[in-house]
């Protein structure tokens, strides 16, 4: 797994470290004991409102040295997108010393993770020698339901390898009833967290306050045991001349406790400290230098240290110069800021943004700039740092996209226009992107730096590919190439994905235009630019959570290379590339909604030519589920051709025609138009309408061996042998290079068919042997099946040839032995074993892996092995799909 050495960003490190326990602390041994007991089981829930002491209690427990192994910690933040959440969980586990197998992978998309990633994670945890105890602090409702659901999944499938301690202001969206029914949860709720009379007395004692019993009773009545209230009150009393009087006033006052106490404590501070607190609250975390930038004074370090010492409002982040504000205090301070200094808040955000940008914190600078409404600044940060791509891919894409959602559409300037273009592209709005790029062009002048021009060229390449416009893509790629030379190499070194992305998109555009050889060269460059497979890429700023962004172009380029190979008739190579692309997607847990699905499409294309219709159909379904990128026009056309070939092979000519006719012919290359025509003519031939098949082939402007072969087929079907022979004359003979093997094989097959029709059996046999020799390396079975029973007749007459060509009928004996299937259903290539069928039947009853294991007296790992084998044989990736597919095939 790609875990970089921590580079020591204190803000990030802080998220994986329990907050420091306050010096003045009540030892709540009963609660600590319950927490310790809870952490011995799967789930512990600590629930209570802000300031009720959830985090302090949990941090206290985590700091307990008596624990055998300290728990791992993750402070969840509301902006954590699901993908980012899981990346942080992996990082927390890694920092806690949990070694997960490398095949678990790492999420690279903000939107979410795949179910198979969760399965691998759960498996990895189940296999670890001792359970991992992970605290998820502030796991609030800001988390989307999918995250809670995924957490529940991992927890239930980790076979005891994961124990979670959650702190949250509201109940998480986990099926708590199920954990309660199973006795697998310990809950510490608001009522448990309330300070008792004794707790309050102990805390006041820690503050060296000597309060009467009546005073403590008043305090308890007023605060109802709310921990933050008791603490704030102790703080205010320390500063008050007469604590008892303060308590009486507090008890008599009817203002909400938080408002009253915070105002009291704030007003008790000297004016410069008040001013500092009000100003730093615009960021949740504050550095002394940032505080100085916000106040314009130089007392930040001293004042913050003093406040932290008093435990008022903020605390120091472990072993760093940074401080964090208590969330409740930050909110109240912001309310005070808005009331006391109206209009100052945006200006403070702007100052914070500039300080963060100066100190190299790009994402935070952009977010603060956006909060300031300073769009030119926020946009320029992304453009100048060559980070426009982060709006499209990566863990922060959602967060950054949301930040710019408030940018007015017509914001002036080149950088805002470029950001708007990238956002439109992320939303798959091509014309919106093109409009934004036109605005950028109008605003871009020579005085703009090379970064802005590169940003324009970068988006030009992406938009050009999506539009299927090779000329525009090439122009933009040429610009980008030139501009890359003008940029400082250290900046480029931080963006290894840039060159890869540019080459991957250019190669895809070349492929779309039908330039296979050029595309292959460009795409190979793109793959090489992604670095050696599986290599560690050191050097990016945030350890572990910041991937270097090459997964996406790598997956894309491999998919395109697979398509190139398929069109070249190199089916094995196509399969290898497609599988490599899928492996990258799998490792980085790319959700299907973000994948182009070209890899599955290619595998379907390979499968149909090899006459493996079950696999073809299943890959087509998987390709259809990958809805991420709107495919360029050429890919759409190719998807239709492969879909039509499969439907036709399944005997559904109507579906084949419908697929082909759904393609809009605009923006298609001649080659793609020809591919569509050949596919449609094959449909007509299969329906016995050779005239229609021939008519279609006269239309396309492009000429080539594929069309000649298709024409010869149609002519042969019409009984016009000499014309067919003439059509084939233009196709190179076997042994000649330059034409794809499948086309030459097909030509030889047609020549054999011609000879057979003429009664020249010797010639037919010779030509057929030629065709089979050409088709054998790639196992091109489909064309022989399509050609008709005469092939089999010739082969059967010659036992030697029949033996030699056994590959034409793969695993035939097994097929009949497999479970009975409904008519018309494609066969399973490899039958399931009796044990696999048993496992699948249990899976169909919605049993979990553990439950299946128990029922069949197997280990959970054996069940998993069976399931993996079932998935492979049925060509699916999920349990539910396996069940559906088996049901469709009549195996269950």
């Amino acid at each position: 797994m790609d875990h970089r050495a921590p580079t020591g960003d204190p803000l990030l490190t802080a998220r994986f470290t329990p907050p420091a326990v306050p010096e003045l602390l009540v030892h709540r041994s009963e609660l600590l004991g319950r927490l310790a007991a809870g952490a011995g089981g799967p789930l512990t829930l600590i629930n209570g409102p802000a300031g009720s002491g959830k985090t302090v209690l949990t941090a206290h427990w985590a700091a307990d040295r008596r624990a055998q192994r300290p728990p791992m910690w993750l402070t969840v933040e509301p902006d954590d997108a699901p993908g980012a959440f899981w990346a942080y969980v992996l990082e927390a586990l890694h920092r806690g010393g949990v070694t997960l197998p490398s095949e678990v992978g790492r999420p690279t998309r903000a939107e979410g993770v795949t179910r198979s990633f969760l399965v691998r994670l759960a498996d990895g945890l189940a296999g670890s020698p001792q359970p991992a105890v992970l605290v998820l602090d502030q796991f609030d409702t800001a988390q989307p339901p999918a995250t809670a659901e995924a957490l529940d999944f991992v927890l239930r499938h980790a076979a005891g390898g994961l124990r979670i301690v959650l702190t949250s202001r509201s109940d998480p969206l986990l099926p708590l009833h199920r954990y309660r029914a199973a006795g697998e949860i310990v809950e510490i709720r608001h009522a448990d967290l309330r300070f008792t009379h004794e707790d309050a007395e102990a805390l006041l004692g820690e503050h060296r306050l000597d309060i009467s019993q009546a005073g403590i009773r008043r305090l308890m009545e007023r605060t109802e045991g709310w921990a933050a209230g008791v603490r704030l009150c102790a703080l205010a009393m320390q500063r008050s001349a007469d604590p008892e009087t303060f308590l009486r006033q507090f008890a008599a006052d009817r203002t909400t406790i938080a408002g009253y106490l915070l105002t009291e404590v704030l007003d008790a501070q000297p004016p410069p400290t008040q001013d500092l607190l009000l100003r730093v609250c615009v960021t949740d975390r504050v550095h002394p230098d940032l505080a100085d930038a916000l106040t314009g004074r130089e007392d930040g370090a001293r004042t913050l240290a003093g406040l932290a010492r008093d435990n008022a409002f903020l605390e120091q982040i472990d072993a760093s110069a940074w401080y964090r504000l208590h969330p409740l205090f930050a909110e109240v301070l912001r309310a005070h800021l808005r009331q006391r200094c109206p209009g100052l808040e945006p200006r403070l955000h702007g100052r914070a943004a500039r300080w963060l940008a100066r100190t190299g914190r790009l994402t935070e600078a952009v977010l603060q700039g956006a909060a300031a409404g300073d769009w030119p600044f926020a946009a320029a940060q992304l453009v100048d740092n060559l980070a426009l791509g982060r709006l499209l891919t990566g863990l922060e894409a959602d967060q950054l996209g949301r930040a710019f959602a408030g940018m007015p559409p017509g914001t002036a300037g080149a950088a805002p226009a470029l950001v708007a273009g990238a956002c439109r592209l992320a939303a798959q709005d091509l014309s919106g992107c093109e409009a934004a790029l036109r605005r950028a062009d109008a605003a871009l002048t020579d005085s703009c730096g090379p970064a802005a021009h590169l940003g324009r060229a970068f988006l030009g390449v992406l938009a050009g590919r999506a539009a299927g416009d090779l000329t525009a893509t090439e122009r933009a790629a040429g610009d980008a190439d030139r501009l890359l030379g003008e940029l400082p190499p250290p900046l480029l070194a931080e963006r290894p994905e840039l060159r890869a992305l540019l080459a991957a998109h250019l190669g895809a555009a070349e492929l779309g235009a039908g330039h296979l050889d050029r595309a292959e060269t460009t795409l190979t460059v793109a793959v090489a630019a992604c670095g050696p497979p599986g290599a560690e890429h050191p050097g990016t700023q945030d350890a572990g959570t910041q991937h270097d962004g090459t997964e996406y172009p790598l997956c894309d380029a491999l998919g395109s290379l697979a398509l190139v190979a398929l069109l070249q008739g190199r089916l094995r190579r196509a399969t290898d590339h497609a599988r490599a692309s899928l492996a990258v997607a799998e490792r980085s847990a790319l959700p299907p909604g973000r994948r182009a699905g070209v890899d599955h499409l290619v595998l379907a294309g390979v499968a149909v030519e090899q006459d493996d219709l079950a696999a073809a159909r299943c890959h087509l379904d998987l390709a259809a589920a990958a809805t991420g990128l709107r495919p360029d026009p050429a890919t759409t056309a190719r998807a239709a051709v492969i879909g039509a070939r499969t439907a036709l092979a399944e005997g559904d000519g109507d579906a084949a025609l419908a697929a082909l006719r759904a393609v809009a012919p605009e923006r298609l290359s001649d080659r793609a138009v020809a591919e569509l025509a050949v596919a449609e003519s094959a449909v007509h031939l299969a329906r016995g309408d050779a005239e229609a098949a021939l008519r279609l082939l006269d239309a396309p402007a492009a000429d080539g061996p594929e069309l000649a072969v298709a024409r010869a087929r149609a002519l042969l079907a019409l009984g016009r042998g000499p014309a067919a022979a003439q059509a084939l004359a233009g196709v190179p003979e076997a042994g000649e290079d330059g034409v794809a093997a499948p086309v030459r094989a097909h030509a030889s097959l047609l020549r054999a068919q011609l000879a057979e029709a003429d009664g020249d059996l010797a010639q037919a046999r010779r030509r057929l042997a030629e065709a089979l020799a050409l088709a054998r390396p790639e196992e091109l079975r489909r064309m022989f099946v399509e050609s008709g029973p005469w092939v089999r007749r010739i082969l059967d007459r010659d036992p030697q040839s029949a033996r030699l060509n056994a590959w034409l009928t793969p695993a035939a004996p097994d097929r009949t032995a497999s479970a009975p299937r409904a008519d018309g259903q494609p066969p399973v290539v490899e039958p399931l074993t009796a044990r696999e069928v048993e496992v699948l039947c249990k899976a169909a009853e919605m049993l979990s892996t553990e439950e299946i294991a128990a029922e069949l007296f197997l280990s959970a790992n054996t069940v998993k092995t069976h399931l993996k084998s079932i998935y492979r044989k049925l060509c699916v990736t999920r349990r539910s799909d396996a069940v559906h597919r088996a049901q469709d095939l009549g195996m269950l």
Partner: protein, 65 residues
């Protein structure tokens, strides 16, 4: 939709300013905040904001239009 929220204690002006969309009536030991709520997202957003400011909601009800 119009809603009324009954908050424990008197909400000070500073905190109430965070809810410009709501009107406020102090009642003994409590505060009534009421006003029109755009949709369910707004409603839950308000509840979260009450919570993050340490305001305790005792009661919430929909008012007749």
């Amino acid at each position: 939709m119009r809603y009324e929220f009954r908050i424990s204690g008197v909400v000070p002006d500073t905190l109430a300013a965070g809810f410009p969309e709501l009107d406020r009536i102090p009642v003994p030991e409590q505060t009534l905040l009421f006003g029109s709520v755009a949709d369910e997202a707004h409603l839950y957003g308000l509840l979260t904001r009450f919570q993050s400011l340490g305001l305790r909601v005792l009661e919430m009800r929909r008012l007749p239009a």
